[in-house]
C-alpha cells in the first residue's frame, strides 16, 4: 500500500518536528564522530592489530553467543508460543530480566555462578572451559544480556504460525520433529533471524557484564574504554568510530538480506 508520505496538518507537522529532534539526537553524535575523524588516523587505527583483534574478537564472541542462544532459545520460544502452563507469565517475565537489570550487576551474578570457585565453574573446568578472563567468559556475559531478544522474537514468530498448519502436516504423515522443521521453522524463520541479529548486536555492544568476567582478552568496548581512561578522548575516538562503522555496515547488510524479497 502506498501512503502519501507527507500530509500537512498541525498534528503531522508537530510530530515531524518532535520526531526530528529525537532522530537528530540519535544520528548527530554518530555522524559527527565519523565525519570529524581524520581519515589518516582512522586508517592507522584500522591497521592497528590490537584494534583489529579486539573488534574481531567482539564479533566472534557475539556470534558464538548467538549460536548458543539459537540452539537453546528457539526450543524455549516454541514451548512458550504453543503451550499454556501455570506460571507461564512468570517464566516470560523472568526471561526479560536480563534486559532490565544493570549489566554490571548481571556480570557479578554470572561471576558468582561461573567463577573458578563455584560449582558450575569447577564442573566446566573439568572439560577445559574457564570463564574467568577468557573468550568463554565473554560469550556467557553476552549470552546472558542478549538472549531475551532471541527468545522473544522467535516466540512471536512461532505464535504467528497457525497451529493447524502443524496439525495438517501431522495428518499427512509428519512426525512432531518433521512438522517443526518443515513447517514451524521455515514460517518463523524471519522472526528467528531478526532475533538473532538483535542478539548479535546486543552482544557486540555489551561492556559492563563482559569486563566483570573477562577484562582480558579485550573486546572492542573494553579497548575503547581503556584507551579513553589511559590516553583520553582523541586516542579512544578512532577505535570507537571504527567499531561503529563495522557494526553499521554489518547490520545494514543483514537487514538487506533479511528483508530482501519481502516486498511482494
Amino acid at each position: 500500500m502506498v501512503k502519501k508520505w507527507f500530509a500537512t496538518n498541525n498534528m503531522t507537522i508537530t510530530f515531524i518536528l518532535l520526531g526530528g529532534i529525537i532522530f537528530l539526537f540519535i544520528i548527530v553524535p554518530l555522524l559527527k564522530m565519523i565525519v570529524a575523524s581524520d581519515p589518516k588516523i582512522l586508517l592507522d587505527t584500522a591497521l592497528d592489530s590490537e584494534v583489529i583483534n579486539s573488534i574481531g574478537l567482539t564479533l566472534y564472541a557475539a556470534l558464538i553467543a548467538t549460536v548458543i542462544g539459537f540452539l537453546l532459545g528457539v526450543p524455549l520460544a516454541y514451548l512458550l508460543a504453543r503451550f499454556d502452563f501455570p506460571g507461564k507469565n512468570l517464566v516470560e517475565g523472568l526471561i526479560d530480566v536480563p534486559i532490565v537489570v544493570p549489566h554490571i550487576a548481571a556480570g557479578i551474578a554470572l561471576l558468582f555462578v561461573f567463577g573458578r570457585s563455584s560449582l558450575a565453574g569447577k564442573a566446566f573446568n573439568l572439560i577445559g572451559i574457564d570463564f574467568f578472563d577468557s573468550i568463554a567468559g565473554i560469550v556467557i556475559a553476552m549470552l546472558f544480556v542478549s538472549i531475551p531478544f532471541m527468545i522473544d522474537s522467535a516466540k512471536e514468530g512461532f505464535k504467528k504460525v497457525d497451529v493447524r498448519l502443524e496439525k495438517v502436516s501431522r495428518t499427512l504423515g509428519a512426525s512432531p520433529w518433521q512438522a517443526f522443521f518443515k513447517i514451524s521453522i521455515p514460517l518463523a524463520w524471519r522472526s528467528i533471524v531478526a532475533g538473532g541479529v538483535m542478539m548479535w548486536a546486543r552482544g557486540i555492544s555489551e561492556f559492563a557484564a563482559v569486563i566483570i568476567l573477562a577484562y582480558h582478552p579485550m573486546v572492542a568496548s573494553t579497548l575503547i574504554y581503556e584507551r579513553f581512561e589511559t590516553y583520553g578522548l582523541d586516542y579512544a575516538r578512532p577505535a570507537a568510530v571504527l567499531l561503529i562503522l563495522v557494526c553499521l555496515i554489518s547490520f545494514i547488510v543483514l537487514r538487506l538480506l533479511l528483508y530482501r524479497g519481502q516486498k511482494t
Binding site: L165, T171, L172, A174, K182
Partner: protein, 348 residues
C-alpha cells in the same frame, strides 16, 4: 469403516460426551450442528489432533484412540483450507508423499492424477496467497487425498466460499466421492448442504449426538426439539426438476409442482425460506409464479414473529410478523393463499 465409541472430549467451556458414530466404508457421512457445537474438535479428535478424555476410536477394526495422527492415515481439510503458505500448490499437494519419501515417479503420477481430477493443473506453480477461495479449497482437497487416506475429514468445506462457487463445489464434492468412494466425514451447520450430500446425517448439539439417520429420517422424523429446530423454519421437499411442455421449469413433488429457476435437472431437493412466502386471504395478482391455496393447520408463536403451517398439501412453513397476523386475523383452520417467486425456490 470408522467407529467412534462413547467418546468424551473436554473443550474447557463444555464437553462432547457419549459420542457414538459408525461410518461405513465408502460412506459420505455428515455431522450437522450449530456453530460452536464442537464439530471441528470432534474431527480433530478423530484425526488424533485433539486429546480424548475417554472413549474409543476404531478404524477398520483396529483401535486407534491413542495412535499418533501421522500413523492413522486420516486426512483433514479445514474450513479456511490452511495451505502451507511457504510452499507452492504442487508442493502443498506433495507434502505428505515427500514426508513418506515416495519415489519421484510416484510423486509425478499422483500430482498428475490429482490435478486432472480437480482441474487444477494450471495453478500448480502458484503460491497459496495468489489463489482464489475455490482454488485453495481444491489444493487443500488434493493435499488431503494425496496420501490415499482411509478417512477424509471435511470441516465446513463450503462455508468459506461465496454462494456461486459453493453450489459448484458441492456438486464436485459429491461427484468426487462417487468416483473415489473415500469414507468421508463432513461437518456443517448448513441443513441443505447436509441433505444434499449426506448418505447419513448425525445431528450434533448441546455436546452430544441428537439423532443419526438418513436425510429423509432427519427432516421427516426429527426425534427432538433440537433436531426439529434445524428442519423446521425450512420448507424442504424431495422431488424432480422437469421441463413442462410450455417451456417452464418446475420442481415436481408427490403433491404439487413449483415453478423454479435452475439449470439443474433430475432428482433433487427444493427449499423455500419461510420469510419469502406471502400470505393473503384472496389470490394475489403479482409477478410471483407460485401461488397456492391451503389451510392453516398450526401457528407457532415466536414472540414478535409467528410460524404458520399451511397445508396444501404438502405443509409449508411461513413466517409472518405478529402485527400482520393480527391485522389479517389469521386463525387456525382458515383458508389462505401462499405466494412466492420462482426464484425464491432454491434447488439443491
Amino acid at each position: 469403516m470408522i467407529q467412534v465409541k462413547n467418546l468424551y472430549v473436554d473443550l474447557g467451556d463444555f464437553q462432547l460426551q457419549d459420542i457414538n458414530l459408525t461410518v461405513d466404508e465408502g460412506e459420505y457421512f455428515i455431522v450437522l450442528g450449530p456453530t460452536g457445537a464442537g464439530k471441528t474438535v470432534l474431527l480433530e479428535s478423530i484425526a488424533g489432533l485433539y486429546p480424548v478424555k475417554s472413549g474409543q476410536i476404531w478404524l477398520r477394526g483396529k483401535e486407534v484412540t491413542s495412535l499418533e495422527p501421522e500413523k492413522r492415515n486420516i486426512s483433514i481439510v479445514y474450513q479456511d483450507h490452511v495451505l502451507f503458505p511457504h510452499l507452492s500448490a504442487a508442493e502443498n499437494i506433495l507434502f505428505g508423499l515427500k514426508i513418506h519419501r515416495r519415489p519421484k515417479q510416484e510423486l509425478v503420477k499422483v500430482l498428475d492424477w490429482l490435478s486432472d481430477l480437480l482441474g487444477i493443473a494450471h495453478i500448480m506453480d502458484r503460491s497459496p496467497d495468489t489463489l482464489s477461495g475455490g482454488e485453495r479449497q481444491k489444493v487443500a482437497l488434493a493435499r488431503a487425498l494425496s496420501t490415499k487416506p482411509e478417512v477424509l475429514l471435511l470441516d465446513e468445506p463450503l462455508s468459506a466460499l461465496d454462494p456461486e462457487t459453493r453450489e459448484g463445489v458441492q456438486k464436485e464434492l459429491r461427484q468426487l466421492h462417487n468416483q473415489l468412494k473415500v469414507t468421508t466425514i463432513h461437518v456443517t451447520h448448513d441443513f441443505e448442504e447436509a441433505i444434499a450430500l449426506g448418505d447419513h446425517i448425525a445431528v450434533l448439539g448441546e455436546g452430544c449426538i441428537k439423532q443419526v439417520g438418513t436425510p429423509e429420517q432427519i427432516f421427516h422424523q426429527p426425534n427432538s426439539e433440537f433436531v426439529a429446530h434445524f428442519a423446521m423454519a425450512r420448507n424442504i421437499f424431495t422431488g424432480e426438476v422437469v421441463e413442462r411442455d410450455d417451456g417452464s421449469t418446475v420442481f415436481r413433488t408427490e403433491d404439487t409442482e413449483l415453478e423454479v429457476v435452475t439449470d439443474l435437472r433430475g432428482k433433487l431437493h427444493a427449499s423455500v425460506r419461510p420469510e419469502d412466502i406471502l400470505i393473503s386471504p384472496e389470490p394475489l395478482r403479482s409477478t410471483a409464479r407460485n401461488s397456492f391455496c391451503g389451510t392453516i393447520t398450526h401457528i407457532a408463536d415466536r414472540g414478535s414473529t409467528l410460524y404458520l403451517t399451511v397445508n396444501l398439501p404438502p405443509d409449508f412453513i411461513c413466517l409472518v410478523t405478529r402485527r400482520s397476523c393480527e391485522e389479517m386475523r389469521l386463525t387456525k383452520g382458515q383458508k389462505v393463499y401462499i405466494t412466492f417467486k420462482a426464484s425464491a425456490v432454491h434447488i439443491f
